[in-house]
């Protein structure tokens, strides 16, 4: 699906992130093209989640640039809130608003950020819930939904804003194994619909099947990247080899 000629949607340039004296990201360069699905993998502490969280400045990069659809998020004049609504994010812990229904969760930003009327926002939110197969649970509160359903509501919350790119931070890590499938299938549908996606995940089988590219990070650097068959099948670096062997067995 990807080609080098495709329009870049997300560009990360010379990105560094330091927590105190610890350098978590050591100059990352990465380009994600339109409609591309990129998996970020690596051992814990490799910096993959930090890299993802820098892509919408939930984490403040120490230096470097993050350019989304041509707009530099680090530029002083950039309206970060306007950009963030175009960068969907899905969290490991779902982070649904517990005091709002599924519909309320999805429609909140539609009303507050896109300034839609309540009726308009509800209609958009319902359509988004429909996309993740949860139209029937629109009135349910997060506490009454399974983990898989909660995560799909969280996906709908991001999708409803019609993002240019979606970031997934270990979307299935907090789920019981039998609930993982429903979330992966929602992600598969998004990919089929042409969404640009960056995914931090340990679901290597899903990566092999669905990803256009796999990026292996270790110690804050990109060690290896390429199509999943190459990076997951015949990794060249020793570190990637050890990591992948560990996860697959």
């Amino acid at each position: 699906m990807s080609s080098s000629a495709a329009r870049p949607i997300l560009e990360v340039r010379k990105l560094t992130k330091r927590f105190g004296t610890v350098e978590v990201l050591k100059g990352i360069d990465m380009v994600v093209a339109e409609r591309e699905m990129v998996f970020l993998i690596g051992p814990s502490g490799s910096g993959k989640s930090t890299l993802l969280r820098c892509c919408n400045r939930l984490e403040e990069p120490t230096s470097g640039h993050v350019i989304v659809d041509g707009v530099d998020l680090m530029a002083p004049g950039t309206d970060i809130n306007a950009m963030r609504r175009r960068i969907g994010m899905v969290f490991q812990q779902f982070n649904l608003y517990p005091h709002l229904t599924a519909l309320g969760n999805v429609s909140l930003a539609l009303r507050k950020v896109l300034k839609q009327s309540r009726a308009q926002a509800d209609a958009t939110a319902r359509a988004a819930l429909e996309q993740v197969g949860l139209a029937a649970r629109a009135g349910a509160y997060p506490a009454d939904l399974s983990g898989g359903q909660q995560q799909r509501v969280a996906i709908a919350r991001a999708l409803a804003l019609e993002p240019t790119v979606m970031l997934f931070d270990e979307p299935t890590s907090a789920l019981d194994p039998e609930l993982v499938g429903s979330v992966l299938s929602a992600m598969r549908d998004m990919r089929a619909a042409g969404m640009t996606m960056v995914v931090v995940s340990h679901e290597l089988r899903f990566a092999r099947e669905a990803a256009d590219r796999v990026v292996f990070l270790d110690h804050g650097q990109i060690v290896e990247e390429g199509p999943p068959s190459q990076v997951l099948g015949t990794p060249t670096s020793e570190r990637a080899r050890a990591f992948i062997a560990d996860l697959l067995h």
Partner: protein, 221 residues
């Protein structure tokens, strides 16, 4: 026994004192309906100001001071002390200010605990959808914070209602002051018992409400 009933539960005297006590009750209600919102709002401002790094220590010092000073002392200072600085507050305003300041410091700590109880993930989720700081606070954080500390807010409100009786020392004709006036005129304690009954009538619904909130929050887990 007859003497006890005659001195404390004399219905004839109670009926006689009722018009005065009714006016006192209205004044108490007016003080409650102004001091509680003032305290809730002031407390919210205190909690939010405490989150601003530059203001944190000023807020901590102020809250510590207000929580440590007995509200009666604060009231007397405002009513009887400030005139020496040329500031003359009428009794109602002095009482409202004293109660409002005192309540703000306590409500403030409650709000702070409530805001802290909302996980960081809620902020991140809201901000990631493009909501600004203020929008996140009002639409996502504060509703959850209020829910988390609702029993404490109600509990403190009960305290504030009780504290309104302090206003009697600055001759504000609220419920206790009125009852005491009636007592001194009738040489009979029954008006005070009637006042006690009225306080009970005022507070009992709040106490029940508190019990229900506690029940509900335990049920929602």
């Amino acid at each position: 026994m007859d003497l006890l009933i005659d001195q404390f539960f004399n219905t004839a005297i109670m009926a006689q004192a009722w018009p005065i006590l009714w006016r006192g009750l209205q004044m108490t209600l007016l003080l409650c309906l102004t001091a509680v919102p003032l305290g809730l709002l002031g407390g919210l401002l205190v909690a939010l100001a405490g989150r601003v790094r530059a203001l944190r220590w000023t807020v901590v010092a102020l809250v510590d001071l207000l929580r440590a000073v007995p509200p009666l002392v604060l009231l007397l200072f405002l009513y009887a002390g400030l005139p020496f600085a040329g500031i003359h507050l009428p009794p109602f305003l002095a009482a409202l200010l004293a109660l409002g300041l005192n309540a703000s410091s306590f409500y403030g700590e409650i709000w702070r605990a409530g805001i802290d109880s909302v996980g960081h993930g809620q902020w991140e989720a809201a901000r990631s959808t493009g909501l600004g700081h203020r929008q996140t606070l009002t639409a996502v954080i504060l509703p959850q914070a209020a829910r988390a500390v609702l029993p404490d807010l109600v509990s403190n409100t009960i305290e504030v209602v009780k504290l309104t009786s302090l206003a009697s020392v600055v001759a504000l004709p609220e419920l206790l002051y009125s009852a005491d006036m009636a007592r001194s005129v009738t040489y009979n304690a029954s008006p005070l018992m009637l006042a006690a009954g009225l306080y009970l009538a005022l507070l009992w619904p709040l106490v029940r409400l508190l019990a229900r909130f506690e029940h509900r929050s335990a049920g929602s887990r």
